[in-house]
Amino acid sequence: MYGSVTPDIIDELKSIVGEKHVSTSLVDRLVCSRDLWFPMLFKTLKGELWPTADVVVWPGSAEEVSEVLKLANKRRVPVVTLGGGAGVCGGLSPIRGGIVMDIKRMCKVLELDEESLTVVVQAGLIGMELEEYLNRKGYTLGHYPLSIYASTIGGFLACRSAGVLSNKYGKIEDMVIALRVVLPTGEIIETKRVPRRATGPDLMQLFVGSEGILGVITEAALRIHPYPEKRIFTSYRFKDLHAGLEAVRNIFRRGVRPAIVRLYDERDTKITLGSLGLPAEGCLLILSFEGTEKLVDAEAEVADEVCRQWGGEQLGDLPAKHWWKHRHDQYWNLPHLLKGFMIVDTIEVSAPWDRLERLYWEVKRALEGQGVIPMAHFSHFYLDGGSIYFTFVKPREPKTPINDAYWRIWSAAMEACIRVGGSISHHHGVGLVRSPWMEKEHGKSFEIIRALKKVLDPNNILNPGKLGMVGWSEVRRVF
């Protein structure tokens, strides 16, 4: 069904992006075809090849992206977009070969509009590169996913990501004002840069979370904020998860929007507080408030009142500050666990308040049923609900192939989530790992996603097989 990447296609690619920006070397193809999904890391550990593209290109502009897509569409060659390669769902794996397009050369800040608090950037800029630029000018985007040092603006948008300050600043879909997107057939479209409009469905949001299957995001206009005058950290201990969740729910009801809200379950609290040498019982809640000084002080006061009402014990700023400063340190364990052939992964799900606790218990039980040791925190909240982030480790079972065990764990968690009526992903996205559950997640409306894909990408060349467009057996053949 797909055309192969023939020498004349390579020549054409070279004439589009320049000879030095095209490579067919195995080194480039392997490195550019890999994200940080567990099975990919596991293949790395074992020295096994993973699926690779046939050619890598490094376009320097939306116009070049457009020419590459026109060529690929004409010759029926798959194209996958590579941002920071820090996705955790297998989303960029070129399972059907073709072209991988690394867009990090597109990294300019195009405009800073200080009156309308808008920054316009190219999609290949790494998150922290933009944040640093804004900080120097006295602003912040407020988007701090833990992958901010590695992932790109385009990747954040493509995966509908959420940062750790999301409770105040919103998720990436709240920050985006306009997009420039190259469609699979090569047309370049731009949405209008206005704060809001009522001119039909919001087409821009169609591409947010489309994981590179509907178009390549090349530029974005984003809302920014004045750099906060003040930032306060504080922490509380609750006797159990229920009390902590009630406190958070009521903080939101009172109209307070902390930036960081992280409520840890008992196991996560033990590890987090234990590492600080603090008594490790109950459930830890970390809060931060930032912005205009007077408002921040008032917010902290109201939140304190609510936390005390729910039996929260003030632990001061240490646990919160410590977490903020060391929030990336948890990752240093991962290579060692992987080297011990452990399964290590995360699953984040969401639900309304009335089902949030049930979701927690059901997914936890499902994971434990697979011999997994899970821990969890709740870190993105809304008036109507929140998200749960499970981290789990499963020791090696000599007789079970690791990938079989891996898929059984995912299966159990996803099915539990669907049973409770939660969503199977809050912010990591679908990629390959959640593809098998997309129909169950969306029900009949999944047909609309399928139809959109057909209309926009009639030859199915853009990141084929992702976001639920792949059968379980095809995924399992490779991973």
């Binding site: 070397s25 080194v27 640093e132 590695a150 290579p335």
Partner: protein, 373 residues
Amino acid sequence: MRLEEFSSRILTCSLCLKMCKYVCPVASVVRYEPVYPPNKALIAHMILSGMINLKDEGENVARYAYLCTTCGLCSTPPWCGLDVRLWEIIEALRADLVDQGIILEPVKRVLKSASENRNPYGENLHARFSKVKHVFSDDADVVYFVGCTTSYRVPQIANAVIDVLSMAGLNFTLLKDEWCCGSPLIRLGLIDLAREHAEHNINALNDIGAKTVVFSCPGCYRTFKIDYERLGYKIKFEVKHVTEVVVDLLKSLKIRKKEDITATYHDPCHLGRHLGIFDAPRQILSVLGIQIREMQWRRENSRCCGAGGGMLITNSEVAYAAGRRRVEEALESGVKNLITACPFCRISLERASGGKIEVKDVMELLAESLEER
């Protein structure tokens, strides 16, 4: 393969989550995925695990192996908490490439030049000190080791050092038959040749009874202090950077303070991150009356000028682009003077400055401010 010695660290880095990605001064200007630090380790892992072989992919591997200034920023906390020390892996990879006969053209030129003229620049060995003040003494046990880059490219640093040490009344000498310390050779993977140089220099210094050897080039200093031992040589003399020596001599110098100068100080990677010397150059600047406005990326987190690790030789344009970025950062701190303590940084930053900021070595500033005793 030399890489095997590092296999565990290579695998660790290949399995990590890329938190060091955005700090790399080279990748942030080249912007190809394989240039980012953890992917260079991944390439090494792919070689060791047989996923790729150097026979087929050698040239492609070399392309990335030499896109690194070995600055070490990616391997510094908080960007790395796993003690990966990527620069050692990169150097081993380059040496393996050379061992297998995969030698880039610019590396071949250095090989030829250093074999024939004992410097990497194709300059005449006998003209080494032609632009440097001749200070030769038979009874001095302190030796100022000038280095190739300073001798041939920025002799004004050498002359400044010589003026300062002389005015401080120090009895010192240059080493008549000084050869390249071997730093560019080690960085580029030319280990056998580096050994010849190490042996020559150590013997020559022992022959004249050196007790202390002073360096103004952090590259030479690092090579004597760390690399010679790693190559298996023991040195009997003490090694010091000139700023460390001068800090102790400040009292014996008559200094005319500079008025109203604000400057920023760029920590050279080899001097700072690799050898821990951050304060001595700053102390000299403050004694000179210079107000320092620090850049965001400083001390352990200093961002490379782009010239390290042989990049000026193998990827000059990329080095230049990285230098421009560093200059922009200096300009953002709102100063007109960018001071450093390394001939490579000075060359790279001056070239990138486009005349917008004055670049000098701390020793030049000090020499300018000395009053005759």
